[in-house]
């Protein structure tokens, strides 16, 4: 049928246009991470008076969360807190042994970091496709916040 051919032609055209402008990168595994890292905020250089006041009252320092064992390996996070505010989240340990783990977590870990920065608490959402890492990240984050006295 002619109209089916038109639909097929349109599909090929639309697909071709997008893929020629932004070629897919099947091999790479870190485009998402790169995109998110850019948006990860760094501590503000010049704190406002309100922030400075908070800095005097809240806890400060670097706190290591518990190492949480998941089915695919341990997850451990480290947070830096300045005046009761989470200014940096690092994930030194996460499942990274198989290609599948790398692929999943290269997307999930930056996302979870961003979530924690945004929430400024353990009130974060998990990532699709990385339920174990999400759970491990969450549990480790809770323990780190507890050590900082921020529950």
């Amino acid at each position: 049928m002619k109209r089916a051919l038109l639909i097929a032609g349109g599909t090929v055209g639309g697909l071709g246009a997008v893929l020629s402008i932004t070629p897919p990168q099947f091999g790479s595994s870190s485009t998402v991470a790169g995109g998110i890292q850019k948006t990860t905020p760094t501590p503000t250089a010049a704190p406002t008076p309100a922030a400075a006041k908070a800095a005097a009252s809240g806890p400060s320092g670097t706190f290591m969360g518990d190492s949480i064992n998941t089915q695919f390996g341990p997850v451990q996070i480290q947070i830096t807190i300045s005046g009761g505010k989470i200014t940096h989240v690092a994930v030194p340990v996460y499942p990274n042994s198989s290609g599948r783990d790398q692929q999943i977590n290269s997307q999930a870990v930056p996302w979870l970091i961003q979530e924690a920065m945004k929430a400024q608490s353990s009130n974060i959402q998990g990532v699709g496709g990385a339920s174990y890492t999400s759970q491990g990240f969450y549990d480790s984050l809770v323990s780190a916040l507890a050590k900082a006295g921020m529950k």
């Binding site: 639309g14 697909l15 997008v18 699709g128």
Partner: protein, 442 residues
């Protein structure tokens, strides 16, 4: 379908194709080789492709029935409804594949049972519970639209369930952009997706709500009188101003909403049963659903909201000097309206099928119209066996059947029988005009 409409339909097909291409590109652009490296990652990947295409087709299905006026004009309402019906099942299949495969893929990867995986996903991922509820709504609307299921339901029940697809599509949106790997960290992809959803939403709000409301108020349509025409058959005569500006023709239908208790919340498609005038429109209704029984209690002065006119079942599509109008039961009403507008030079035969004498509604009007233009009306009362609608039988009454334009309206079996009869004696498709009752809905 006219040449112009065919041409526009071709363009619509290309636009649909480009949309499918763009949507598939969302995936291909963001997928990695590792998404296809193990069995469970392949299962999950296939599920995501299904989700994207199924959701895209659901949006297209919505847009097809969003009553965008220039689309209605350029392709035709009937064609849009047919496409909506063809796409709907595909959308449901693809989304079902998504739900099943994503569960299998994740459960396999996490090495847990599917039921437990479902529970985990709902608990851990943002907007997953609303998305799951949305799937149930969507599936219900799909199942109840299946021909056999729908035949067993009232129009009201079907319509109410179908309405939940709006909610389903809205509820599923957030889980897509918050957990879909093709959207996280890909702002352009997200923008395209948001554009689709917001665009469809805006079209619905504008063309299905704002425009009909505005026009209903401007034309100030109200019920003038309710007349009982026969057993279970009721005419509603409505008065308004400037109705001729709507450009409605006999044989077309509107979606009507009587703004009174128990009626306002849903609209019904009914054909005009008389050619519209500047101040009057009339519909004649048989109680096919639960709704029309209550219609006889409608009070004069009740405001009526309407959407329309719709349909290409009109007099000026006839091409021959001889026209045969075949109506079954209350299906005669659009034919009666259409007959008024047939060119006076045309020779007209009317075949009116009914199982009982009292079902011959609007008989007096029909006789008067026939007398005025010298048309013949053949009343065929009795069972289907007594009056089989074969070419041979029709030609007993209308020898020139072969060389005429045929208009048929009534229950689906009658429409199908006449269609077959007309085709069997060589009448080309563009001279067979039919309108089955069920065709109005959507």
């Amino acid at each position: 379908m006219s040449l112009g409409k065919r041409y526009n339909a071709d363009w619509a097909a290309i636009v649909l194709g480009v949309g499918v291409g763009l949507t598939a590109a969302l995936y291909i652009e963001t997928t990695r080789l590792s998404d296809w490296s193990t069995v469970y990652s392949i299962v999950t990947s296939v599920s995501r492709v299904g989700a994207l295409l199924g959701s895209f087709l659901a949006i297209v299905g919505l847009v097809l029935v969003s009553r965008i006026s220039w689309v209605e004009r350029s392709v035709g309402h009937d064609r849009l409804v047919i496409w909506h019906r063809k796409l709907g099942p595909w959308s449901l299949y693809l989304i079902t594949i998504h739900v099943l495969l994503v569960l299998v893929g994740y459960a396999g990867h996490d090495r847990i049972k599917i039921g437990i995986e479902l529970w985990r996903m709902i608990q851990r991922y943002p907007w997953m519970l609303p998305a799951f509820v949305a799937f149930i709504f969507f599936a219900m609307a799909g199942v109840t639209s299946y021909k056999k299921a729908r035949a067993k339901m009232s129009y009201e029940a079907w319509w109410t369930i179908h309405l939940y697809t709006y909610l389903a599509i809205a509820l599923s949106f957030m889980h897509q952009v918050l957990t879909g790997p093709m959207f996280i960290g890909h702002p352009l992809n997200k923008l395209y997706w948001e554009f689709l959803y917001i665009g469809a939403g805006a079209a619905i709000v504008f063309w299905r709500i704002a425009i009909p409301t505005f026009r209903s108020l401007i034309h100030n349509l109200r019920i003038e009188q309710v007349v009982v025409e026969g057993p279970g058959v009721i005419s509603v005569i409505m008065h308004g101003r400037g109705l001729d500006k709507l450009g409605a023709q006999g044989g077309q239908f509107f979606s009507w909403r009587f703004m009174t208790r128990g009626h306002w919340w849903m609209s019904h498609p009914y054909s005009l049963s008389a050619a519209p005038t500047a101040n009057y429109m009339r519909v004649t209704i048989k109680d096919l659903g639960d709704h029309s029984k209550d219609v006889r209690n409608l009070k004069a002065g009740t405001r009526v909201f309407f959407e329309g006119p719709y349909g290409t079942f009109v007099a000026n599509t006839s091409t021959r000097g001889h026209v045969v109008l075949i109506g079954g039961g209350v299906g005669i009403t659009p034919l009666r309206a259409l007959m008024e507008e047939l060119d006076p030079t045309k020779v007209v035969d009317v075949i009116f099928r009914a199982s009982r004498d009292e079902d011959l509604v609007l008989r007096k009007e029909l006789d008067a119209l026939a007398d005025a233009r010298g048309a013949r009306v053949h009343y065929l009362v009795g069972s289907r066996k007594e009056h089989p609608m074969t070419a041979k039988y029709i030609m007993k009454f209308v020898p020139a059947f072969r060389d005429s334009d045929v208009y048929v309206c009534g229950p689906t079996p009658l429409v199908d029988a006449v269609h077959e009869a007309a085709v069997s004696c060589g009448i080309p498709k563009d001279r067979i005009h039919d309108e089955a009752f069920e065709f109005h809905n959507v």
